[in-house]
Amino acid sequence: MAELLLEIGCEEIPAAWLPGLGEQLRARFAELAAREPLTTSGLRSLWTPRRLVLVAEVPGRQEDREETVFGPPRSAARDASGAWTSAAKGFAKKVGRAPEELLSLPKVAGGDVLYLAHTRRVEGRLAKDVLPILVGQLLRALAFPKRMSWDAWLDDGKGAFPFGRPIRWIAALLDGDVLPFTIYALENGAKSGPIVQSGNVTFAHRFLPRGEAGRPIQVASFAELLAKLRERFVLLDPEERAVRIRESLAELGRSLDDHGLASEWRDLVECPAVMVGGIPAEFRSLPREVLETVLVHHQKYLPIASGGALTRFAAVTNTDGSNVAEITRGMERVVVARLRDGRFFFEEDLKRPLAERVEDLAGVAFHQKLGSYRDKAERMTRLVTIMGAEMGLLTKPEHEAARQAALLAKADLTTLMVREFPELQGIMGGIYLRAQGHGWEGVASAVHWHYHPISIEEGSPPASALAGSDATVFGAVSLADKLDTLAGYFGLGLMPTGSSDPYGLRRAAQGVIRVLLDFWSAAEAEERPNLRRLVAAAVAGYGGGLSRTAADVVPELEAFLFDRLRYVLVARGYPADEVEAVLGARDPDALENPHEAWVRLKALHRVRQEAREDFEHLAVAFKRARNILGERREALPDATLFQEEAERLLDQAVSGLSGRDGGYEARLRALASLRAPVDRFFDDVLVMAEDPKLRENRLGLLARTLSLFYRIADISKLGGQA
């Protein structure tokens, strides 16, 4: 076996891409090598922002293999007199054999038609000849979240060669010998001179050690690459960098919340050195969200708390850890400048009660044709009023809190802080309300969170932040905001198309679904939101202000929300056919009560796992039944018309189940027991009997059987295997 070492030296690749690229490097190379075929082992990928490295053990030579070539069908190999046809002779000549020496083989194992064939031994090629081509294929196969043109060209017949970032060197070695590979310049749309040629050199840290940076370093093996890079301030192994960062952070405090930064830090630098800067005391009174936004989101610095306040921050640098004083002074100055801005905004904003700003919203347009945010606040307030007063979804105090929150929700858009840090919208509204002594936490928290839920995962924010009435108030305001937006944009005909969703309407609709699934706490709610009524109310909220009629908008918006409900349920891990089955049930209607649809889905999923075979049979039977029945309604069958035992048995089973109450699971379990009578019914009974009376009676019985399921799920939608 020989060691393959490939290092692709790049300009800085985004940190977020690197773990995925490392994975791709191994997976794509394994696939490409297998295709050659070339057996590989010990595949490993490593990376820094400036290099992608692949190491593998490969044989020095491909194994010899047999290859069969096919000629004409044997039936066309001889003419009527038994002499070889010219097609046969031509093929024999091509493969350098006499016609008599040829084999007769099917093209696929077990095939009926035999062809003239010749099997020859193909000598394996040397790995050093195969690998340079694989390098090119590997580079082509890497997928990036965003590719760039860098005027490069590959001689592989495909030409222009976009990549994630420009490649500046390639070390490609097989047991220390260079595997030749060239990237050419693209000029005027065509190939020009070479810009990168593979070699046996690498480059280390951009700036370290002082005076040596930028010099080529010769390497012959992976071990040497790793060692020489380490000596020169590059930790090639991401795990090694992670350990160094973890150790540094561990020294700073045991319970450091790393805000997900530690893993990003690993891939931002080649030589991590963690430094710590101070946050001047004057800024510690700023809301934590503001401090964290500045530190975490804008600077990728990690806040360090002590005594309940954020007093310091940690930052990763790409240095040898020297010159700490000057570097941290620089970082502190950036932090101070941003916090000074933040404090100024905070103090200015607090000078006016948030409620006063509601009127200012008249000057902030929500959409040219949909009015200002003042108008939106008004519509949202009316929507939560409908939820409370007309639909009975809110208690009196919840209703009042939701009304206030709906009116105040957008007021922080006029604050300096939100204009500077838009990601703090909503959050600042909540903070200002509390700071200004708005005593009602339910109002402040609803304002704070109303842009959520953003993620569709169960348990993602604000799931653990809100409970009880606060969660309901939040849910009402969040729904009102999103449904109002959806109704407005749909009302103007600005629906998302394909991958284009400039107004984030899919996410808004998913937010609606998630509120209905997760935030109308199941155990407590007496009334559940009827999404159809909410949609109608949201569209009506615009009065005549939309360019399309409610009759056009409502069904489209309902279909859109229905589709998002399907998406969220599938995303939660339920098989698509079960989701279709549940959403396909006509009564109850999933849009009237999405939460209940989810409960049915959970029940179906569990019971189907217990009785997989029963459901497979039922699904097949019901598909048949549906085809026969069309849109026929259920009818009580006339027992006197039964002729077969199977009819009577099915009727008894159905009658025994139709009055049944209880949870969905219990009912589904009971329904699964219909498998035997249903199977027997189809085996023994001719449904489409010639006598119309008999036929109608049998169809009625079938329809009645199906209707039992329709209250839970359309079983005919279930696939056989899922």
Binding site: E11, E12, P14, A15, A16, P49, K146, M148, S149, W150, D151, R165, P166, R168, L186, E187, N188, G189, I195, R206, F207, L208, P209, R210, A213, G214, L268, V269, Q299, Y301, A315, T317, N318, T319, S322, N323, E326, I327, R329, G330, M331, R333, V334, V335, V336, A337, R340, D341, F344, G363, V364, A365, F366, H367, Q368, K369, L370, S372, P502
Partner: protein, 292 residues
């Protein structure tokens, strides 16, 4: 190093590397990219190297001269290398050394930051360059300008001169920056910052600017489509004026989210048409004919 010495050093450095040193464009622009020496030169096949300082107006960033870090108008130093040479990052880092920054003693990083100008139909891939956490440069490989795919790819390097001066001089307030040996930034620019902020936040006539915006773009189209051609440079000036009018309206808070999209699209359409006219192989475009 004073602000003007920084400018001299950068001009000298890039002049030595083959750049034509141009002057700022004489119209209000929101970024050095809008200078025709960038926007039009990056189009088409002809190699070009240019550097210039461009005062850049961002009305919404005005702070009446009260904010130590934020300005209505700041100075960008802009370098265009077309095509981008293979050692472009090293060449850039060399310019920091020319400013007296020792890279081995600092944390200098290229962090992903892709640039996009929806008004110009332009975007690129690149980084912000961080010096001890301070963003001092935007570094971009242009991919598209005026909606056109570019080939060759240009590297655009945009330095924020005030920030670099603050860093080098160790001052916390931009108005304390020494512009020359004996003049501070405050003396040169503070009053202007106040007045321009006041104008764009309080005085600018919103209705007038709405009207101007429409008229600028209309005149841009009329000019561009004038019979006889050779008018795209004049049309481009109107396009820039439209963009500035948009920025003023934005600072006044007079643009809604959706209006914004529509207005940006209006500017972009004109910019893209100008770019298309510029690369169209006919007489009178800047590539073939000398201006003068």
């Amino acid at each position: 190093m004073t602000l003007q010495e920084i400018l001299f050093a950068l001009e000298r450095y890039w002049s030595d590397r083959g750049c034509l040193i141009h002057q700022p464009w004489d119209a209000e622009v929101g970024a050095g990219t809008m200078h025709p020496e960038t926007f039009l030169r990056v189009l088409g096949p002809k190699p070009w190297r240019v550097a210039y300082c461009q005062p850049t107006r961002r009305p919404a960033d005005g702070r009446y001269g009260e904010n130590p870090n934020r300005l209505y108008k700041h100075e960008q130093f802009q370098v265009i290398l077309k095509p981008a040479p293979a050692d472009v990052q090293d060449a850039y880092l060399g310019s920091l050394v020319a400013l007296g920054i020792d890279p081995a003693a600092h944390d200098i990083r290229f962090e992903e930051d892709n640039w996009e100008s929806p008004t110009l139909g332009a975007w690129g891939i690149g980084w912000q360059v961080l010096l001890d956490g301070l963003e001092i440069t935007q570094f971009t490989y242009f991919q598209q300008a005026g909606g056109l795919d570019l080939q060759p790819i240009s590297a655009e390097i945009t330095y924020g001169l005030e920030r670099i001066a603050m860093y080098l001089q160790g001052v916390e307030d931009v108005y304390d920056v020494r512009w020359s040996k004996d003049r501070q930034y405050r003396e040169v620019r503070h009053e202007e910052e106040y007045q321009l902020s006041r104008y764009s936040f309080e005085l600018a006539d919103v209705e007038l600017f709405r009207e101007l915006f429409d008229k600028y773009l209309k005149e841009g189209w009329r000019t561009l489509e004038a019979p006889g051609g050779r008018s795209l440079l004049a049309a481009y000036d109107w396009c820039l004026k439209g963009s500035h009018a948009f920025n003023i309206l934005d600072a006044r808070g007079a643009i809604s989210v959706s209006q914004r999209a529509g207005m940006i699209l209006g500017i972009r359409k004109l910019a893209c048409a100008i770019a298309a006219a510029h690369v169209a192989p006919r007489e009178g475009t800047m590539v073939e004919a000398p201006r003068g």
